[in-house]
Amino acid sequence: MKRRGVSKVLGIWLLLAGIICPQIQAQGKKPEPPMKLKVGDVAPDFKLQYFDGSDDKDVTLSQYRGKSNVVLAFYIFAFTGG
């Protein structure tokens, strides 16, 4: 009885190791996390502001629907290169 209990515990540990280890390995190999949004996905609508020099202006993605393509260029901070 006792021996069977030990092997059961060992079995669970091996199972857990089998699940966790490949995940750790995969994380180590992939420095770039995969993108949440992929080519072909619908881009979520948004409403954001910019300052045109005298007023705050609203911009939505949906205002361009059917009219023009949109390049959405995310950058890290103002006053950095690129």
């Binding site: 080519v39 502001q49 393509n69 390049v71 260029a73």
Partner: protein, 103 residues
Amino acid sequence: MKAFQQNLKQLEAADTQVLGVSMDSPYANKAFADQIGVTFPLLSDWGGDVTRQYGVYVDKYKAARRVNFLIGKDGKILEEQIDREAIDPKKIVDACERKKVSR
């Protein structure tokens, strides 16, 4: 942003609106735009809601990754450029040109 400015005429001729997005304030972005001579809007995602929605928020920087999305007139994503690749927007400019020709 400068690279998009250099290609702005080509992009506009291909029916493409360029929008920069960062988590800076609208006023910091305006000053940045003036300094580097950018004439397209630099949008302010103060708080980062849209940055998170697009899955480009980086905890380590408390800011966005450098990512360019090209979104078609139907609202679907046509191209993505990520991190280092996103510095040179040639892939996106070329994709816009191709669309213009194929129309």
